[in-house]
């Protein structure tokens, strides 16, 4: 039975429950609904919750554990000699069975046993879904009956329903925490597996990165080198170039918009910067690879300088353009938050506008601006698509902006895109890099957010 039909039926049952609860409440009040504790609708919701929620919980539990249960049953039904196969071989056999069960093609001509297993698998799945439907409907009906029997004018239906709503609200607010916990644990867990294969010292301080793991043990370079320093240097180089573009342009445009521009000009300029902020990063990446990188290469060629067509310069400059609106919007907020009295005091002493800005406003706004710039740096470090499309892959330890360098995010993408077995050092390395990226950006964010908040409090 398809899931959509099961869920659809459940929705209908819940609706029926709602109307039954409401009419029961009205009936129990013998026509005078003023003697009810809550409005009749709340009795309806009360029954509907009892009908829908337990059944949904069961469905969620089943969906989460179904694959494991069915697979366990399937394996135990297989012949002895198949069960004794190594884990990887067993996985292949299971894959074959599932492919055949889904009506697809197996990797080789199937044995009759495999065919039988596939049939068994299909029957298990259909039994499972029928059983699920049965259990869910039984629960729904039982819920309706139970809740309906509880209805009387004194039942505090509204309080019950509101309690349930509060539970849902609290649960949703913890999702954010769960996400963070999930990120930390998944990264940490895989990174620990990586550090069992490669020593953390080699990873953090190694000077060479060539994550090729060999197919045969006697191959050249079979060990794979996981020294991440070239990646850090590349990331920092590109971020530095990006900040060299974004910091002055973003700050100056924010100053101009906040202090000089007339209201109308400001109203026209702000949306323009917002457009720049709303362009997807993959578009910037394409722009960098198609236009900016060749432009720099040709410029270098005409000046007799050799600039790589995947230079850090092109990626950094385009990344800087991407970050301009980010810097300028934070700086704009910070500058407008500086109290007007400070401006007026300085202007009253005869300082020009630019002197006021340079000697009074910027020093006052400095903590906020620094915080904003730190946030921008953390964005530059974590930015992926521009560098994937415009920066190189070669992990060279170089600070020359005209050469191709690679970054942490580029390596994560190249290591994980494509088919790899999941427990090779190569794939796990991506998680170690991810952990590092997460930690660095987290520290930058925490510092930046604290600084910005402190600053806000100062002038509030």
């Amino acid at each position: 039975m398809p899931l959509s039909i099961i869920l659809g039926t459940l929705v209908i049952l819940t609706l029926i429950g709602f109307y039954m609860g409401r009419s029961r409440a009205v009936a129990s009040s013998s026509g005078d609904i003023r003697i009810l504790h809550s409005l009749p609708g709340y009795y309806g919701y009360f029954v509907a919750i009892w009908c829908g929620v337990p059944a949904l919980l069961v469905a969620a539990g089943w969906l989460a554990f179904e694959p494991q249960i069915v697979q366990g049953l399937l394996i135990s039904s297989l012949p002895e000699d198949v069960q004794k196969l190594s884990d990887n071989r067993l996985k292949l056999v299971l894959n074959d069975i599932m492919n055949i069960a889904a009506g697809g093609i197996a990797s080789k001509k199937p044995d009759p046993e495999i065919l039988k297993a596939a049939e068994y698998y299909n029957s298990l799945k259909s039994t499972g879904s029928v059983a699920l439907a049965g259990v869910m409907f039984a629960l729904a009906v039982a819920g309706i009956t139970y809740a309906r029997s509880k209805i009387n004018p004194d039942l505090r239906a509204r309080n019950n329903v509101e309690k349930f709503i509060m539970v849902i609200l609290i649960a949703s607010s913890t999702i954010a925490i769960l996400t963070t916990v999930g990120i930390v644990f998944s990264l940490l867990f895989e990174s620990l597996r990586f550090f069992q294969k490669v020593a953390p010292v080699d990873f953090l301080f190694g000077l060479e990165w060539s994550p090729q793991t060999a197919l045969r043990s006697d191959q050249v370079g079979s060990t794979g080198l996981f020294g991440a320093v070239p990646l850090f240097v590349g990331t920092l180089l590109i971020s530095f170039i990006a900040m060299c573009v974004a910091a002055p342009v973003g700050l100056l445009s924010a100053i101009y918009m906040a202090e000089y521009a007339p209201y109308k000009v400001r109203a026209a300029l702000k949306p323009m910067l917002e457009i720049l902020a709303g362009i997807p990063t993959v578009v910037y990446g394409f722009f960098a690879a198609l236009t900016v990188a060749p432009f720099f290469r040709d410029l270098g060629a005409s000046g007799g300088i050799m600039i790589s067509s995947e230079s850090a310069l092109a990626a950094g400059v385009v990344m800087g353009i991407m970050i301009i609106p980010f810097v300028s919007s934070i700086a704009d907020d910070v500058i407008t938050a500086v109290p007007q009295a400070m401006r007026e005091g300085s202007l009253g002493l005869g300082a020009t506008k630019s002197e006021t800005i340079k000697r009074v406003i910027l020093p006052a706004a400095l903590p906020g601006i620094v915080g904003g710039l730190l946030l921008a740096v953390s964005r530059a470090i974590g930015e992926t698509m521009i560098v994937v499309m415009a920066a190189g892959l070669a992990a060279k330890l170089s600070v020359n902006p005209l050469e191709a360098v690679t970054t942490v995010t580029v390596q994560i993408v190249t290591l994980l895109v494509g088919d790899q077995e999941f427990d090779s050092a190569k794939t796990l390395a991506a998680f170690a890099l991810g952990l590092l990226l997460f930690c660095v950006t987290l520290v930058l964010n925490i510092i930046a957010l604290t600084v910005v908040n402190k600053y806000r409090e100062q002038y509030e």
């Binding site: 607010s173 954010a176 002055p248 394409f286 353009i321 946030l375 964005r379 992926t384 957010l449």
Partner: protein
Amino acid sequence: MSETIASDTFALTDISTQKEATAEAVRQSLKKRYSAERRFRFYGVMALVFAFLMLVVLFATIFSNGYSAFVQTMIRIDVKLDAETIDPKGTRDPAVLLRAGYGLLIKQSLRETFPEVRSRRDKKKLYGLVSQLGANDALSDLVLQNPVVIGKTVSIWVPASDDVDMLVKGHISRDVPEKERRVSNKEIAWIDTIKAQDRLKTQFNTNFFTAGDSREPEMAGVWGAAMGSLLTLAVTLLLSFPLGVSAAVYLEESAPKNRWTQIIEVNINNLAAVPSIVFGLLGLAVLLNFMGMPRSAPVVGGIVLALMTLPTVIIAGRAALTSVPPSIREAALGVGASRVQTIFHHVLPLAMPGILTGSIIGMARALGETAPLLMIGMVAFIADIPQGFTDPATVLPVQVYLWADSPERAFVEKTSAAIIVLLVFLVTMNALAVWLRQKFENRW
């Protein structure tokens, strides 16, 4: 005595001359200070001009490269639909008609148009004028719809190959020396002959909007990716909007101010600034490897993007809720509404436009996001249009990335066109957000 007076007057004149001198110094420095002022102002203007210029260059590059993808060059060929080749047994079975050897017929037709072509290499080039895949599809469609044409000679428009298309559109210049050109002089001569025979036209490229991805640039379309984006965004919206609004309501309206809620708050702010690729790693480790969800599926992409946009929605929701004045709450509580009733009957409806605006902006961000989806396998080559939430799919920005990586010149055009499509979606969403904000904006 007189000496002291004299010295006093001297001191007085000294002060006044000193004042004069200061005034003079200030006056002299004024010029410098004013020019510094003008310079500073000029820097500000230059910064904005730079940003604006980059925006213009970016859009100009994309549009000048991409607009031509909306038309496609077509070539008319006369094909003799030989019954022996198409359906030797005469069964007219659709399965047979679908897989018949139309390629042979097309090649034959091209040979007959240019009988002077003899050598194998030239013939191969000649066959390359039309898109084999596209011509095949066009012929099999024609025959399947109307089997009576078998045995007759039909005149049919088929898509030209990508190189011909590029040449006709002027993306491959004729002035370049032959060795550096992808299209040889011979091929150009053939194309000119075809053109002179009125067998060449450009028409609106419907295929681009209805087809899925393809290895052949002239047959590739964005519909598959757009459908994938739609399915993914649907999942994202269904998850992040209710969860985000509930979390915002709890944190803003009923959470006690204690350590736990403080942790949640800090956590949400930090989560909003975590690099998006980390969410992809989370999806890969937890959703794919631990929970065994299907690779490349919109449902997984949707969940990952929902986790990513959740902080944005929560922050926007909280801002909208705080802007509802307390008097509304007090009035509702005063006439006897419960806290939950106050929130759901009064505060939330008033905050809804703000929440919606924030959510749409969050969705727009999710629509343009690429990096986390690369991690969960939505980067595969998928030619079919996804039909459900678990079908393998790709999304528009990933399609842009995939095409940008392809070496054919024609894919540059397709990439730019796909970006235009993506930008149109984004602009629509942002315009909707702005419209909502202006229509329902409450000034308290």
